[in-house]
């Protein structure tokens, strides 16, 4: 069977999907990146092969996420796209009428507004983590609670505790305070959900006109407490797509399919043996070519140099010939 492969390599998780020629999802895989995107990409592909137990006929590959260039080098991508576009494409494939996408991942969050299937505005969170999944992870572990129980427990709450502080650190100290005052755990959890939603709306969603239909995606959408908090604060029902956790990868795969079909070209896919049999290594060095002292990353497979990046002047990057991104 022929597939299009979509990969979304983020700093926390690496996602892989296979879609068929009718853009139906055939396989999905979710891995922790664990600070080693090179290994995550290789292992992810390997696992995908093992799971399908067949020779994959890859027609095209799309890569997104902060590690998209790395994925391109190891796998050979046809389309290398930023996360905003990838998420928007996937959401409007499932919900053509969608107007607002709320995307919250482990380390970042976004809002995307669409009109007629085209992105009309977007914003990404600033450095603050108070509006992201890692904030919930931390608080859950502080309360000795599995992140999987977080949502169901929060839903039991009848009256959420108000947790002040827009910043993760301050919210945490306020939460500890509330805990010591003896508030029930479910009310505290719901309070955390509402605090996160408020932070998200004030930071990423500031000044944006949030209109229905609203889609909530990203790994954090698994938390039912958050969905409820969004619905309470926005006073609108919110939809969660069935594959909320791999939407970026789906978008990348769709973009790859569009590209291959529109251009009528063959995929740049490097093939199983290139990916599985080789040892990939990344290293970095300081380029002394000018006072910028750029930190240049070098990716090698065995002894062969595959790519450089990180140099402002692109002296290294272009020394190997490069592909257009966008």
């Amino acid at each position: 069977m022929s597939y299009y492969l979509g990969v979304d390599i983020g700093s926390v998780s690496s996602n892989f999907v296979l879609i068929d020629e009718k853009q139906q999802l055939q396989e999905k895989l979710y891995l922790r990146t664990e600070g080693n995107p090179v290994r995550a990409i290789k292992n992810g592909y390997k696992e995908l092969l093992e799971k399908r137990r067949e020779k994959l006929d890859i027609k095209g590959i799309g890569a997104t996420g902060s590690g998209r260039h790395l994925a391109d080098i190891i796998l050979g991508a046809d389309v290398v796209k930023n996360e905003i576009t990838a998420h928007a494409v996937a959401a409007s494939w499932f919900y053509p009428e969608v107007r607002t996408i709320i995307e919250i991942g482990g380390q970042d969050s976004k809002i995307i507004l669409l009109q007629g299937g085209v992105v009309s505005d977007f914003a990404m969170n600033t450095v603050c983590a108070a509006g992201t999944g890692s904030f919930l992870d931390q608080q859950a572990s502080r309360l000795n609670m599995s992140i999987y129980d977080f949502g169901p427990t929060a839903l039991k709450s009848k009256q959420a505790v108000r947790i002040a502080g827009r910043c993760g650190v301050f919210a945490e100290s306020d939460m500890i305070h509330k805990q010591q005052m003896g508030y029930p755990i479910e009310d505290i959890l719901m309070g955390l959900c509402e605090a996160l939603v408020r932070n998200y709306l004030n930071n990423v969603g500031k000044g944006k006109k949030i209109e229905a239909p609203i889609i909530f995606q990203g790994g954090v959408a698994a938390n039912a407490g958050l969905k409820k908090a969004f619905e309470k604060i926005l006073q609108t029902p919110i939809m969660i797509p069935p594959h909320y956790d791999v939407m970026g990868a789906i978008g990348a795969a769709i973009l790859a399919r569009e590209y291959i079909e529109d251009q009528g070209v063959n995929t740049a896919f490097k093939g199983d043996s290139f990916i599985i049999e080789g040892q990939f290594k990344s290293s970095s060095f300081e380029c002394k070519g000018c006072p910028n002292l750029c930190e240049v990353v070098c990716i090698k497979r065995e002894q062969e140099i595959l790519a450089y990046w990180g140099d402002r002047c692109q002296k290294w990057e272009s020394s190997l010939g490069h592909k257009e991104v966008g």
Binding site: T126, A164, G165, R166, C167, F170, S173, N202, N203, K206, G207
Partner: protein, 330 residues
């Protein structure tokens, strides 16, 4: 009777008696927003761009509150300069435009431009333009303006006795004067009035210090001409009115023997404060000095610890001095 809404923020703390008298004399009723609360803060954070400073966000919160009322006008002046060749800050100069861009259901704005550094004539024209909304008589407008100025002077005289401008305004409005505070330390506290005297923005730093046994000396208690004189020792004139006032006040406070230490309360993301705090820190060599940076994330616990530690240090220092002066062999 026409109503004029007035946000309890920014230059409310410096000019309210003037504003209020002016509008009352012209036959208008002034509706002031309530004192800043957590809700004001939340609403302000909601409306203002993230990067702006805390007092502006709070001001937006006050505007939001006033939008609920049925007002004939909302008074949000564009304060460019209140004296020649000086400014307040760029954000003050854009306040009415920022408000227009952020709120959709505003009452008509009175966005008079107060720019004394241009010609006094321009300012007078702006004043008449505002006054004409209520009366045709130029004489009456002028009289209301002069009366307002008198009332402000009276209120400033109250503040000079050791009250914050917020307290002075309350007293001016007829509240009883507060009793005296017991104190063994005297601390000079500096900062822009609209953050320092707003009890929510500053987390009531002044109240906390008084409870810790400090007498608080504020810039309003120092004679204006002396402040200018001290500030003019800087190699380049400071072109921010409040910044210059703070620098001049700090120099005076350093010379006053009864003052044990100086605290500067700066707002994070305040442009002038980022420089003025630094300048004062470098020039004040003979007195303990603490720069406190506050914003909407500042927590009470941390603040209390810092204030207590500062006071403890001043007290120990004083004891040390006394002990040093005792003869070694009794």
């Amino acid at each position: 009777m026409k109503t004029v809404g007035m946000p309890r923020g920014l230059f409310y703390y410096y000019y309210y008696p003037w504003y209020k008298t002016f509008f009352n004399d012209l036959g208008a009723r002034v509706i002031l927003s309530s004192p800043t609360t957590r809700i004001t803060v939340d609403q302000g954070i909601n409306m203002a761009v993230d990067e702006t400073c805390f007092p502006i966000k709070v001001y937006f919160g006050h505007v939001q509150e006033l939008c609920q009322y049925d007002l004939d006008y909302l008074f949000v002046p564009r304060i460019v300069s209140v004296e020649a060749r000086s400014y307040i800050c760029p954000k003050f100069m854009g306040v009415p435009d920022m408000i227009r861009a952020s709120f959709s259901d505003l009452p008509p704005l009175i966005d008079i431009t107060i720019d004394i550094s241009r010609s006094p004539r321009d300012f007078q024209e702006e004043l008449y333009k505002t006054g004409r909304l209520f009366t045709k008589s130029r004489r009456r407008i002028k009289a209301a303006y002069e009366h307002g100025r008198e009332e402000l002077k009276y209120c400033q005289a109250i503040a000079a006795q050791g009250y914050t401008m917020a307290e002075a305004i309350d007293i001016w409005e007829g509240q009883e004067e507060k009793g005296s505070w017991n104190s063994d330390l005297c601390i000079g506290v500096l900062g822009h009035g609209y953050s320092l005297y707003d009890q929510t923005i500053s987390l009531d730093i002044i109240g906390r210090l008084r409870k810790m046994g400090c007498r608080v000396l504020l810039p309003e208690a120092l004679p204006g001409e002396r402040v200018e004189e001290e500030a003019s020792t800087m190699p380049k004139r400071i072109f921010w009115t409040l910044g210059r006032k703070m620098v001049g006040s700090a120099f005076i406070m350093e010379k006053k023997p009864e003052i044990d230490g100086i605290i500067y309360v700066a707002c994070f993301a305040c442009g002038p404060d980022s420089f003025i705090g630094e300048i004062i820190e470098r020039k004040i060599e003979n007195k303990p000095y603490m720069l406190l940076v506050i914003d909407e994330h500042t927590g009470e616990g941390g603040l209390n610890t810092r204030l207590e530690a500062f006071c403890d240090m001043l007290r120990r220092k004083r004891r040390q001095k006394i002990e040093d002066n005792l003869p070694a062999y009794g």
